[in-house]
Amino acid sequence: MLKKKSSLGRQKIPIEKIPKKSHLQVTFSKRRSGLFKKASELCTLCGVEIAIVVFSPADKAFSFGHPEVESIVDRYLSRNLPQESSALQLVEAHRNANVRDLNAQLTQLLNHLTIEKKQGEEIDHVRKARQMQNWWENPIEELGLNELVQLKVSIDDLKKNIGKIASKCMMEQSNMFPPNIGANGFGRYNNFENKQGVGINIASTLPNAYNYLDFRHGYL
């Protein structure tokens, strides 16, 4: 199965000024971010103090510092010895604790992201397989006029059926519940959950502009 590449991946490039301006800008962005990440890791792992200052191709100043850019730069320029005080150490300890938490939070998020991405790939995979059997599941752009018309008829029909089910639900609901019900009026309908396929029954992430009541009135 041909896998469409979303990016070129890791490629070896010569270390000399990048000729193409757009490429240069992207590279700066990515590498700067990666550089700060490495610096942050070094600070956490080895307990050292760092400052990095870089200028973008547009001459904007980006800086990373641990504990702070300012203090490191001042210290370097004036050749001062580091200031140690119990107050500062306390602040430092508190900060490090924060950083630990933030790192943990970030790691967790990135793990979730990886999982979701994999899930997306799975779904794509299944869809591609289905498209081999069912021509109507192919992207709309790939269908011809007569196919589109046929598809439209079927989907219109599906729409009608959904409307019927919606009104059936609504009727059953109004029959079963007196007007003033508790907070979760849908409580008794948990067994209405879609048991097949779509495992997620979370709040809709699609635009929730659709009240199926309106839908029903519009189309039945």
Binding site: R95, V149, N201
Partner: protein, 237 residues
């Protein structure tokens, strides 16, 4: 080089910590250097460690002075605009990850609902157990899909294109369909070999009716043919 996953925490073992420091410091300096060369920009790095009285710097003592002077010459606002420390940097990354996660979840949800829609279409699944929430989304999705179809149909009609760009190997037409709409060209006469299994799947109407409770008789074929000439013949059992 070992590719063990390192836990992001202060390394307690002294020698391990020192070794890690040496390696990573070297790598960091290399990265700064590459960034500077690749993008043709000014940069500097300063590292204070317990292993050395003097800070380690890149590119050089003079180079650092130069860059820092340039930095300090800027108005305070410009200096601090893109200034981060560990905390703020991590918060930025966290926000970005959150946004990506939300988007990915949204995309996955939409993909799954689309899949479900197609499953209903070919009656791989029934609509009996759908939840209220899913119902809403499905209705919306169906409408969007119809919009897209209509848009595309309009576009194709405008270009005078009626040709099938895809072979639909299992659609059957009994007779040459009479094309009612404005001379779209010759494409009505596919008489193709049937594939029984696939045909069963394509009895959309029949199946949909059954799934919604079988309340209604299948539409008389006259209805269907009104849409357009090319509906498959009555191959319903």
């Amino acid at each position: 080089m070992t590719r063990k996953k390192v836990k992001l925490a202060y390394i307690l073992n002294d020698s391990a910590r020192k070794a890690t420091f040496k390696k990573r410091k070297k790598g960091l300096m290399k990265k700064v250097s590459e960034l500077s060369t690749l993008c043709g920009i000014d940069a500097c790095a300063i590292i204070y460690s317990p292993y050395d009285l003097q800070p380690e710097v890149w590119p050089s003592s003079i180079g650092v002075q130069r860059v820092l002077s340039k930095f300090r010459r800027m108005p305070e606002l410009e200096q601090s605009k893109k200034m981060v420390n560990q905390e703020s940097f991590l918060k930025q990354r966290i926000q970005k990850a959150k946004d990506q996660l939300t988007k990915q979840r949204k995309d996955n949800r939409e993909k799954e609902m689309t899949q479900l829609m197609f499953q209903y279409l070919s009656s791989d699944k029934t609509m009996q157990n759908i939840s209220m929430l899913d119902l809403n989304e499905m209705a919306w999705l169906i409408d969007q899909y119809l919009k897209d179809i209509n848009r595309r149909v309009e576009k194709l009609s405008k270009n005078g294109q009626g040709q099938s760009q895809m072979v639909a190997p299992t659609m059957v037409t009994n007779a040459v369909a009479k094309i009612e709409d404005s001379g779209q060209g010759s494409h009505g006469c596919h008489v193709l070999d049937m594939n029984m299994d696939a045909m069963h799947k394509q009895h959309w109407f029949m199946n949909l009716m059954n799934n919604s409770g079988g309340d209604e008789a299948p539409p008389p074929l006259g209805d269907v043919n009104q849409q357009n000439g090319f509906w498959p013949n009555p191959f319903f059992p």
